[in-house]
């Protein structure tokens, strides 16, 4: 596996740790990363104890990259997170409560037990609920941005994430190409964690660097250091600003590792120890804390307090949701249509005759 080499489209890196990463943003990002981490640890526990059925898919090690997209988006933007985006989701407004509810299939959750785990969102609020089929969300986000363009709304951005494995799908390609043709304000972040499930990059693509694909789509390419919060905030912040100010689609590629299995059923033993010990394997949460402490943007006490507060919130939310009732099949209308009632009769009045 070759790690990315520097690319022409990456532009000058003088902006690294650029001043635009404010203390406030960095603190907020760290806090959200912490929430995502602690929440996901709890999800793993719930899975192991049989409370969550199906699977649990965590973003451990990818929180810095993930949060950096979510945090730069705002109300009115379109966001389609993927598997490892608990942090980005929370930055975009998702909550511990709704995450728990969705994983546990609560009928009070946004997915009402109909869909679960990472398949979560509130599309009417710009927060798309991913389908499993990788690559599919790129063009969906494009569609949201087209809608805004048709209505003459400017300044909105669309953001989506994908793993390096997802770039092999035809759907990803068609979406990227379309984004380029329509010059949409979309930011696509590729989290190159070196493996798609167990498959190493040399069985996934043959280029030295996925970033070279940006030019082929006519989009701007940028690189971020995937486990370095300050770099992710800076690079993705720039990408989002560029998109927002009309510079067209942006592709961000970041190398990193997931510090966990593909799902909680997977021990990730296929990841070589040497890779884990390389700089790729550094835990973004630890690194971010160290940086913030060094910069004096966070004190050790605050860090410890936050940890406790979040742990408490996660525990309390978990207990609460575990006591909530399961969805009741007999109350379901079992109807996939909005224009038909469950007997498949038209809801439309006959007086149109």
């Amino acid at each position: 596996m070759t790690l990315g080499k520097a690319s022409d489209s990456d532009g000058p890196r003088a902006t690294k740790h650029s001043p635009e990463v404010t203390r406030e943003n960095a603190r907020r990002a760290y806090r959200i990363m912490l929430e995502a981490r602690i929440l996901e640890e709890k999800l793993a526990v719930l899975y192991r104890s049989g409370k969550i059925v199906g699977g649990v898919f965590l973003g451990r090690g990818q929180e810095a990259l993930s949060v950096s997209l979510g945090i730069h988006l705002r109300r009115g933007d379109v966001y389609a997170p993927l598997i490892r985006d608990q942090a980005g989701r929370m930055a975009f407004g998702d909550t511990i409560l709704d995450t728990m509810r969705t994983y546990l299939g609560s009928s009070l959750g946004s997915m009402r037990g109909r869909d679960g785990n990472i398949h979560r969102g509130r599309p009417s609020e710009g927060y798309h609920a991913m389908i499993s089929h990788l690559g599919a969300m790129v063009s969906t986000v494009c569609g949201g941005l087209m809608a805004k363009r048709f209505r003459g709304e400017t300044g909105a951005v669309g953001g989506t994430c994908i793993g390096e494995g997802g770039t092999s799908t035809g759907s990803f390609h068609e979406g990227m190409n379309l984004a380029g043709v329509e010059k949409l304000p979309i930011v696509v972040v590729v989290a190159n964690n070196q493996f798609s499930y167990s498959t190493p990059n040399d069985r996934q693509f043959a280029c030295n660097d996925l970033l070279v694909r940006a030019e082929g789509y006519g989009v701007r390419g940028r690189r971020a250091v995937g486990n370095d919060l300050m770099d992710c905030l800076s690079v993705i912040g720039e990408a989002v600003s560029a998109a927002r100010s009309g510079e067209g689609p942006q592709l961000v590629v970041a190398d990193l590792l997931r510090l966990v299995g593909h799902g909680e059923h997977d021990d990730a033993s296929y990841i070589p120890a040497a890779m884990k010990e390389s700089s790729l394997g550094g835990d973004c949460l630890d690194l971010a804390r160290t940086t913030l402490l060094e910069k004096g943007w966070l004190t050790g006490e605050e860090a410890a307090d936050w940890q406790k507060i979040v742990e408490k919130e996660v525990e309390e939310t978990s207990s609460k949701v575990l006591r909530e009732p399961s969805p009741d099949p007999s109350e379901e209308d079992w109807n996939a249509f909005s224009c038909l009632d469950s007997q498949q009769n038209s809801r439309y009045p006959e007086e149109r005759q």
Partner: protein
């Protein structure tokens, strides 16, 4: 206005939708200045600047774009160049568009227009009838208009519905079918139509096969039979009530579909009548479909592959003797 073709009705419906509803836009290959492979969007790009857009050859992304726009409240119409190419957008249609409302409560109002069905020389990849494939999936409405009037009113209805609609328009009817004027009233959504009244047997058909059925019915008047023809209009939902009422009158049922038999509309209709209207049947229900191969290229093979007035008439004669 001179005679309006089925194709022109589709163009006019899109024109009206664009006119009446600012949420409507059309996206598809070659539909802009060129007006589409069949000219179903002729002049619309000029008349509605920026709202009738040429897409890249990317069926998956075309549908994905429509979904994202629908979520934001638009009413996209996607033109597939041929129904057969919608297989490349299949995943977005059946897994994203069809599931969105159920999963999230957010409606997904979009229309995918599928120029469908066989024409002489079309061959295996420009002749397919895919209604059964889409109708299998809960969450998709599937329309199959058989007349100029229905092509017009149903396409407008498709745009107005809050669900994703697969609009199967038949290429063989594009130029062949003409009407004097556009209709002012519409049948309620989801209702089948008695295209011809009769008392000896019911033929259920849809799309181009309605006309083969009507011609067969005409032919059978010479044998002294009076055949009823039901035009399904939409194949999801299927108007089972109208079918059962007809079978109650005639006691005999033949279902005709241009698609392959396995799991097709004809199978579904027969399953419904057999389960819900068993007692109404005086004879075993029958079906007539395309032969079980890809749609052949040579017109002589094609003419045998699909049901025609004469094969429908033969099936009817057999049914009437059962």
């Amino acid at each position: 206005m001179s005679a309006i073709t089925y194709l022109e009705a589709i163009r006019l419906a899109q024109q009206k939708a664009l006119q009446d509803d600012p949420r409507v836009f059309i996206y598809g290959q070659d539909i802009g200045g060129f007006g589409g492979a069949f000219k179903a969007t002729k002049n619309l790009a000029k008349e509605f600047p920026g709202r009738v857009l040429d897409s890249p050859i990317s069926e998956d992304a075309m549908v994905g774009l429509a979904i994202g726009a629908a979520v934001e409240g638009m009413r996209p119409i996607i033109e597939m160049q041929f129904a057969d190419f919608s297989t490349c957008g299949f995943n977005q249609i059946v897994n994203q568009a069809a599931t969105l409302h159920y999963r999230t409560g957010t409606p997904c109002p979009l229309v995918v227009r599928l120029p469908s069905g066989g024409t002489p020389g079309g061959g295996p990849f420009h002749s397919q009838s895919m209604e059964a494939i889409y109708a299998h999936y809960p969450g998709l409405i599937v329309m199959t208009p058989a007349t100029v009037e229905d092509a017009y009113t149903m396409l407008l209805e498709a745009v107005a519905l809050d669900d994703p609609v697969i609009f199967c328009e038949h290429k063989f009817l594009y130029y062949h079918l003409k009407a004097d004027k556009l209709p002012e009233t519409v049948l309620p959504f989801g209702k089948a139509k008695i295209a011809r009244q009769g008392r000896d047997a019911t033929v259920v058909a849809y799309s181009a096969m309605v006309h083969e059925a009507l011609a067969a019915a005409e032919e059978l008047t010479h044998d002294g039979y009076d055949i009823e023809v039901v035009d399904l209009r939409t194949v999801r939902p299927i108007d089972t009530d109208t079918i059962l009422a007809s079978v109650a009158r005639t006691g005999r049922l033949l279902v005709v579909g241009e698609a392959w038999p396995w799991g097709g509309v004809a199978a579904e209709v027969i399953a419904r009548v057999a389960t819900e209207g068993f007692g109404l049947l005086d004879a075993p229900p029958q079906r007539l479909n395309a032969k079980e191969t890809p749609v052949p290229y040579h017109p002589a093979l094609w003419g045998t592959h699909r049901p025609t007035a004469s094969s429908v008439a033969n099936s009817l004669r057999q049914l009437l003797e059962l």
